[in-house]
């Protein structure tokens, strides 16, 4: 029975996946951004392979050296050094690990919490929906940055705390998206059909509703990832992210801020890395949304 029900579904899903990847592969921005993303992920996974120096190694003789392509630059220090003589490029490469790790896990937390709340609100409706909607409104009333920095200041900026707090800051938006998507499929015939053959609420939610709202979730999660990278960078910039000497992009900008007039490169290059990675996720999110939209003409 399971095979006969899941067989055709799996075949359709596979062909949808094939369609989407084919559409994505045709787009140049996707290829460029995909390549950049793969480079960032590899850097995050094995930073030691690419970093020319130890990111923690200090040298007073090498303080605030400009990039090697500028006058006064030292060979081997392509993006220059910071106020403690540490190699900027190596710290950016190692910083990718923290930024991507914290952001990815925070998105996972917000996605799981958002899906749970959004599916419950959309599927059950009534009082549950009202309560969840009010909770969403309450949390959305707080400026995210202010709430997150206040909570981090109370509970402390450990890696786990950051991931949980940042993740929980994002659940209301995800819940809204999921609720809307659930409402749009809840009344469709296949859900009624599943109910008619005796499927329980959990089964309907897991096997009939979730697969049909997954594309909306994936697209939103890609934008959410960009937002989390921004949030992590902001927290690190304010000194409430992962603590020094661990390199973070936001923390590097914060360090560089004090030497702007002497050494602009210390703050410039980590910011460029943040901008590029956020742009990458935003463009990929846009393209993914277009590729998953059956109403757009993809020819």
């Amino acid at each position: 029975m399971t095979d006969t029900v899941n067989g055709p579904e799996r075949a359709v899903r596979k062909s949808q996946f094939h369609l989407v990847t084919t559409r994505l592969r045709r787009k140049k921005p996707v290829l460029v951004c995909g390549t950049l993303l793969i480079i960032a992920i590899i850097c995050a996974l094995v930073p030691g392979m690419f970093a020319p120096h130890d990111p923690y190694e200090q040298s007073l003789l090498l303080r605030l050296k400009p990039p090697s392509f500028m006058d006064g630059g030292r060979e081997g220090y392509f993006l220059g050094t910071d106020h403690l003589g540490r190699d900027t490029l190596s710290r950016i490469i190692y910083g990718a690990r923290i930024t991507l790790l914290v952001s990815l896990l925070a998105v996972a937390v917000s996605t799981i919490a958002g899906i749970a709340a959004g599916v419950a609100a959309g599927f059950y409706g009534g009082r549950i929906d009202s309560v969840i909607l009010r909770l969403i409104d309450m949390q959305l009333a707080f400026p995210v940055i202010l709430l997150v920095i206040a909570v981090v200041a109370v509970v402390g900026p450990s890696l786990t705390n950051l991931i949980i707090i940042m993740g929980l800051s994002g659940w209301p938006r995800m819940a809204r998206i999921v609720r809307g998507a659930v409402l749009s499929v809840r009344g469709l015939e296949y859900v009624d059909a599943a109910r008619a053959i005796g499927a329980g609420s959990w089964r309907i939610m897991a096997y009939h509703i979730m697969p049909n709202i997954l594309s909306a979730i994936i697209v939103y999660a890609s934008f959410e990832l960009a937002r989390m990278i921004l949030l992590e960078a902001t927290l690190s910039f304010l000194g409430l992210g992962v603590q020094p000497p661990t390199p973070t992009w936001g923390g590097m900008i914060s360090d560089g801020r004090n030497y702007i007039s002497l050494a602009w490169w210390v703050a410039f290059f980590p910011g460029l890395a943040i901008g590029i990675i956020i742009l990458t996720f935003n463009i990929l999110g846009d393209e993914l949304r277009d590729a998953l939209d059956p109403q757009l003409n993809h020819e």
Partner: protein, 305 residues
């Protein structure tokens, strides 16, 4: 209209209660708030006296009741750093924050909306492509980074504007532009997309057919109908703006509430933190209430639905 107003006002009450609960819980997240509200070297007797004075030895519900009553009176206790009432410290700096936020919002509206309209009208031309590119860039740039870049270029290299502080109009230029940059990008993007929808409608064709000038069709007929989603985004972005001032005021040493909040967080001055969080959340709720009422004024269908 009055019924709509009352209904909307009633819906705000649970949100306001929730905001009070979250603000109250903030200092209790790590357990006993005495650890947060007193310096680490406070003696046991001082802690005991503090608990008694502030009712922290009472049941949680009683404590929440007192918190709500005090919050209604704007009493969040004294700042641990300045030894002045937290709320009066916040209100002293509110003028500077409002100046920055209003300037940023004005820039976002004055630049974002016309840019979005022009981009939609000149769809797929170099103008449109440039606007879309700049919008994408604007949304990818962290505001603090943009602030630092603008300081490097316009203060350090060119010497055109002061890099920090408040005083003259020149001081306002860099922080306001930096704070508004992401907003301009977002509003231009939303306006463009709404205008594209509206420009394809029958009533626009009718307006053109009856001989109205192109600028009248675009700026009066189309923009008015595209305005509701833009207004929604503007209302929601007040939250972004209030969060943004926290960062931008820190970068430019702007003496406003945001900078006070960050300094209070560093100094673990939680009465001030609580006052700022609650005040900002209430401002956000109030602005969105006004936005909702504006919808009803712009579009009569909303009022009667």
């Amino acid at each position: 209209m009055l019924r709509y107003f009352i209904r909307r006002l009633v819906l705000t009450i649970p949100v306001a209660i929730g905001i009070l609960v979250i603000s109250f819980m903030l200092t209790r997240l790590s357990g006993d708030p005495t650890d947060l509200l007193l310096p680490p070297d406070a003696t046991d007797s001082a802690r005991e006296a503090f608990r008694r004075n502030y009712g922290l030895d009472q049941p949680l519900l009683t404590q929440f009741g007192s918190f709500v009553v005090n919050a209604m009176r704007g009493d969040f206790g004294d700042s641990l750093r300045f030894h002045e009432p937290a709320m009066s410290l916040v209100m002293d700096r509110m003028g500077a924050t409002l100046e920055l936020a209003v300037a940023a919002m004005a820039l976002a509206i004055l630049i974002g909306i016309p840019t979005g309209v022009v981009a939609a009208y000149k769809r797929n031309t170099p103008v449109d492509i440039s606007v879309r590119g700049i919008s994408l860039l604007g949304q990818a740039m962290p505001s603090f980074y943009l602030g630092i870049l603008s300081i490097i270029v316009f203060s350090v290299w060119l010497g055109w504007f002061p890099s920090s502080g408040r005083g003259t109009w020149w001081h306002l230029v860099l922080p306001a532009i930096t704070l508004s940059f992401q907003l301009v990008a977002l509003i231009a993007r939303v306006t463009r997309s709404c205008m594209l929808d509206v420009l394809g409608q029958d009533y626009i064709r009718t307006a053109r057919a009856k001989g109205l000038g192109e600028s009248r069709v675009v700026w009066l007929h189309a923009l008015r109908n595209a305005f509701i989603p833009v207004l929604t985004v503007l209302g929601l972005q007040v939250g972004f703006l209030l969060g943004g001032v926290v960062v931008i005021e820190t970068v430019f040493s702007w003496p406003g509430v945001g900078r006070l909040a960050v300094q209070a967080i560093y100094a673990r001055d939680f009465p001030v933190v609580q006052a700022v969080v609650l005040l900002f959340a209430m401002i956000f709720v109030f602005v969105n209430l006004i936005v909702d009422l504006l919808y009803a004024a712009i579009d009569p269908r909303i009022r009667y639905s």
